[in-house]
């Protein structure tokens, strides 16, 4: 199973393994990774699953669509590599993905 590594705002790393097809948001929630809230459960409605995609992965992960991009304008400390983790689905190509988590979701 592909791995995803979450790095908290204070540098703690947590590597989890999840089946292909899982979203990065679910990878965090299912494994008790704190720092992702995901209040709406993945409907791209709440912007509480904000993450920063590690620079070495941004090209493979791709960018946000228009709705997601508009939501990202209003998260705390938006960056060019900001994404909503519920909108990133794990594939074999994303095995080893590294994402960083913000200090706060709102």
């Amino acid at each position: 199973m592909p791995s995803v590594t979450f790095i908290s705002h204070d540098g703690r790393e947590q590597e989890v393994h999840v089946p292909v097809g899982t979203t990065v948001m679910h990878a965090a929630i299912d494994n008790g990774v704190s720092g992702i809230l995901a209040d709406c459960g993945g409907a791209c409605s709440c912007a509480t699953c904000h993450c920063f995609v590690d620079e070495t992965w941004t090209a493979r992960v791709g960018g946000a669509d228009e709705v997601e991009a508009q939501m990202l304008d209003f998260v705390i400390d938006p960056q060019p590599n900001s994404r909503l983790s519920c909108q990133i689905t794990i594939t074999d190509e994303l095995d080893g993905l590294v994402v960083r988590l913000p200090a706060s979701q709102f």
Binding site: I29, D30, N31, G32, S34, L37, D39, C40, G41, A43, C44, S45, C46, A47, V67, Q70, M71, D73, F74, F106
Partner: protein
């Protein structure tokens, strides 16, 4: 692990969050979640949307997988109904007579559907929509070309109508009031939803009085008071919910349109907290008591309740927010519009599929209904949380960046 035992009654959205937050907050004793349904806490919002439309599997609805509860040391006691609560002995009784002692109790019993006692309500093919099992049953009656009559033009009814159109069904929505969503939105928003549902092929009948549900064994038609008869292979009734307070009431806890809790989610019993749809609580932003039916409230109030049980009092002060997905419409609501005396529109509601309705009481912004306008939703959520004020003239002008309309 110490000998304390936190028992959470109702395996709801709030329950899942409360259990997880208890562990995160340092609760070292046992945690048990007791639920009537045979499934771990799951997401209800997709039931009337992606799950009904067949786009999601039930496994995908789980808020957290079963393994999460195992790893966190949270016992799931599923398929069990709590029938009694003894606050003095500090025990709950299950339907099979088992007695579970608790040190702390959390009531996350949610809400039950409001029912109609129409003639024919017990025919096959007549459903309410609240639980996973309801939708599993409904799914046996759906299919291309079949006719559905939805009773109730609220969010559940309209979402169900949209999902059934996706499945290729003929759909009629009956609303008793003069407009759909009348109790929760401005006339402009109601008119917008009526128009889009019409464009998508749904027939909406307002001021509809249902006389009876007709059929022999199974539903065949719905008869209105004016004599109209509507063919129906399935009827779904969505006319609101009531807080599930029976257990609290029988145990002598204070109940007044929901289980009465303070800002720390405490009930009138010091060892019992409550969270989610079942509670009646004070909201400091609107300075009044509320009973909310939402995931946001279930999640946020559950966190407050868990903190309280862990000995850290953190007052609940969250801004209510909601969402509803129908067709290509993403509606996001921030705040509560009740009591508004003016609506400011940003974008057109009478054409297209994207606009925002800002609700004011005097100069004070109360809420926004943002349809395919995520920026407006996010901005209002921030503004209402931090106490910013809004300029109605700038809000109405789409040429002005939304952030410039707030100070």
């Amino acid at each position: 692990m110490n000998s304390e035992h936190a028992v959470i009654v109702g395996a709801s959205h709030a329950a899942g969050q409360l259990g997880a937050s208890l562990r995160q907050g340092g609760w070292e004793g046992r945690i048990s979640i007791v639920g009537e349904e045979a499934i771990a806490p799951y997401q209800r919002p997709p039931l009337s949307k992606a799950y009904l439309a067949g786009e999601k599997h039930s496994d995908e609805l789980l808020i957290r997988p079963a393994t999460f509860y195992e790893k966190s040391g949270i016992d799931l006691v599923l398929g069990s109904r709590v029938t009694g609560l003894d606050c003095r002995a500090k025990t709950v009784t299950l339907h099979d007579g088992a007695i579970i002692p608790y040190s702390k109790l959390a009531l996350t019993t949610g809400a039950r559907v409001r029912t109609l006692s129409l003639p024919g309500h017990d025919l096959d093919g007549v459903f309410y929509l609240r639980d996973l099992a309801d939708v599993d049953s409904i799914r046996g009656f759906v299919g291309p070309g079949k006719s559905a009559v939805i009773i109730g033009g609220g969010y559940i009814g309209l979402e169900t109508a949209a999902s059934m159109r996706k499945l290729g069904m003929e759909v009629t929505v009956l609303e008793a009031l003069p407009r759909v969503l009348q109790r929760v939105t401005a006339p402009e928003v109601s008119a917008f939803y009526s128009r889009v549902h019409g464009e998508e092929g749904v027939r909406i009948i307002t001021d509809a009085a249902v006389d009876s549900l007709e059929g022999s064994g199974s539903i065949e038609s719905v008869k209105l008071a004016d004599g109209t008869s509507l063919k129906a292979d399935i009827v779904v009734i969505g006319v609101g919910v009531m807080p599930a307070t029976e257990l609290a009431e029988a145990a002598g806890l204070a109940v007044d349109n929901g289980i009465v809790v303070d800002e720390f989610a405490r009930t009138s019993d010091p060892d019992i907290v409550a969270a989610g749809d079942c509670t009646n609580h004070y909201n400091p932003i609107y300075d009044r008591r509320l009973r909310l039916e939402s995931v946001q409230n279930a999640t946020d109030q559950a966190k407050t309740a868990a903190s309280t049980l862990c000995g850290k009092l953190e007052a609940y002060h969250a801004l209510p927010w909601f969402w509803s997905d129908q067709y290509d419409l993403k509606l996001q609501i921030a705040g509560l519009s009740q009591g508004f005396d003016r609506v400011v529109l940003r974008g057109r509601s009478d054409s297209g599929r994207s606009f925002a309705a800002f609700y004011f009481s005097g100069d004070r912004l109360l809420a926004v209904d943002a349809i395919n306008k995520p920026k407006e939703f996010m901005m209002v959520r921030r503004a209402l949380t931090t106490g910013m004020t809004a300029d109605p003239g700038k809000l109405a002008d789409e040429a002005v960046d939304i952030q410039q309309a707030f100070a």
